[in-house]
Chain length 225, copies 2
C-alpha cells in the first residue's frame, strides 16, 4: 500500500456499554494476544507525533508496531507514522474531544490485531482524554517546555492518571522560563508514582531511557502471552 494511502475511520462513541468495564475487557483481550497498548495524551503541538515517529524508528526492528491516530480532522499524523515504518489508521472523532474504548476497538480491529506494541495518539487536549479509560495498559502524558512548569497544578486529573510523564523539547530550555525541578515537584505532588522522562525527541537527547522502559514493558507482555 502506498504510504500516503491512509485509511480514515469515522469513530463512533460508545453510548451503551459501561466504558470502564469495557476497558478492562479490552485489556484482558490484549494481554492474551500479547499486545502492549499505550495511550499518548498531551496538548496540541507538544510533540506526540515526533516522539512516536522516533520511537517507531528505534524499536521497529525489534517489535511489530502500530499506531491509532485520533484527530478531529486531517490525516497528517498518520502519514508521518506510516513513513516512519509502522502500521497506522486514522480515526476521525467528528468533533469529539477524547477517545473511548469503543473508538479504540474500531482502530485496533481496522489495523488487524496481534501487534507487539500499539500506540493511541489521542486528541490534543489536556482535559477530556484524561476522563476516559481507553483500555490501554499505560497512560503517557507529554508536556513540552514551552507550555510551562505550572501545568500539573492547572490540569490535575491528567497528571494524576498518567503512568509516565515525558517532558519534551528540552533543546529549547534556554529560550523559556521553565523550571525543571518545579515541574518534577508539581508532577510528583499529583502522582508520586509517575515515571518522568525529560527529552528532546527532535535531537534525541534523553530519548534512550524512554525507549528502554518501553521495550521492557513490551517484553513483559509478549513473554506472558
Amino acid at each position: 500500500m502506498d504510504p500516503c494511502d491512509i485509511k480514515i475511520i469515522d469513530a463512533l462513541e460508545n453510548l451503551e456499554a459501561d466504558n470502564d468495564e469495557d476497558a478492562e475487557r479490552l485489556r484482558d483481550e490484549l494481554d492474551r494476544e500479547g499486545t502492549c497498548l499505550i495511550n499518548i495524551m498531551s496538548s496540541p503541538g507538544s510533540g506526540k507525533t515526533t516522539i512516536l515517529t522516533r520511537t517507531v524508528r528505534e524499536l521497529g526492528k525489534e517489535f511489530n508496531i502500530a499506531v491509532i491516530e485520533a484527530d478531529i480532522d486531517s490525516d497528517v499524523d498518520a502519514k508521518k507514522i506510516k513513513e516512519a515504518g509502522a502500521a497506522a489508521v486514522q480515526l476521525h472523532t467528528g468533533g469529539m474531544c477524547h477517545l473511548d474504548v469503543a473508538m479504540t476497538r474500531q482502530g485496533l480491529d481496522e489495523l488487524g490485531r496481534g501487534f507487539d506494541l500499539c500506540f493511541i495518539e489521542n486528541i490534543g487536549n489536556l482535559v477530556c482524554p484524561a476522563e476516559y479509560d481507553t483500555g490501554a495498559h499505560f497512560n503517557v502524558c507529554i508536556l513540552s517546555i514551552p507550555e510551562g512548569h505550572d501545568k500539573p497544578l492547572k490540569y490535575p486529573l491528567m497528571f494524576s492518571v498518567c503512568d509516565v510523564l515525558i517532558i519534551n523539547k528540552t533543546d529549547t530550555s534556554a529560550y523559556f522560563d521553565f523550571d525543571m525541578e518545579k515541574i518534577i515537584e508539581n508532577a510528583l505532588i499529583k502522582n508520586p508514582k509517575v515515571k518522568i522522562f525529560p527529552m528532546s525527541a527532535k535531537t534525541g537527547e534523553g530519548f534512550a531511557p524512554w525507549v528502554r522502559w518501553l521495550a521492557e514493558q513490551v517484553k513483559k507482555h509478549t513473554e506472558s502471552e
Copy 2:
C-alpha cells in the same frame, strides 16, 4: 484588597436554559452597559496570561479592565492579572473543559458590572471551548509558534469560530520548524474573515496592532452606550 487575595468561585454549568439564547441576552445587556467582552481561547501554555497582563499594562490607564480567569484548579493566573492592575475573579470549573454563559455571568456578577473591557481567559483547550458561546463580543484564539502551523487543519472548529487569531512567541521562531505563511494560509481556509496578529507578548514585538485593534473595539462599545 491584597493582590494575592483572590476570590475563587465554583462555577456551575447552565443545565436548563438554552445557552445560545442566553448568550444573545448577555451580549445585549453588555451592549447597554458599554462593556466589550472578549473570550480568549487556546491550548495550555500558549501565552494567554502573558498577553493579558501586557494588555492590561498597556490599556489599563485608558480603560477600566477586568478578567474572568477560568481554570479547573489553581489561582496562579488571577494573581498575575491583579498584579498587572486589573480586577480579577477566579472561576473553578470542577473538571469542566469549557465555559458557558451561566459561568460567564457568575464571573461578571462577582466582579461587579460596568467595566469598559472584560476578558474571559477560557480553559486551556483547543477543542471544547469552541463549542460554547460565552456571550462574548469577540472570540480570540491564540496559537504559539512551538505548537506548529498545522493546527487549523486539526482543530477546525476553533479556527472557524475565532474573530481574531494571535500567533504568539514569534521570538522563538528560529528554534522551531514553523511556517508563518502556511499558518496564515491554513487559518484563512477555515475562516477568511479572521484578523491575524503575529506577536511576542514577551518581547513586545508585534504587540501594538493588537492593542490598537482592541482599543478601537472598546471605544465603539463605550460610545454606543
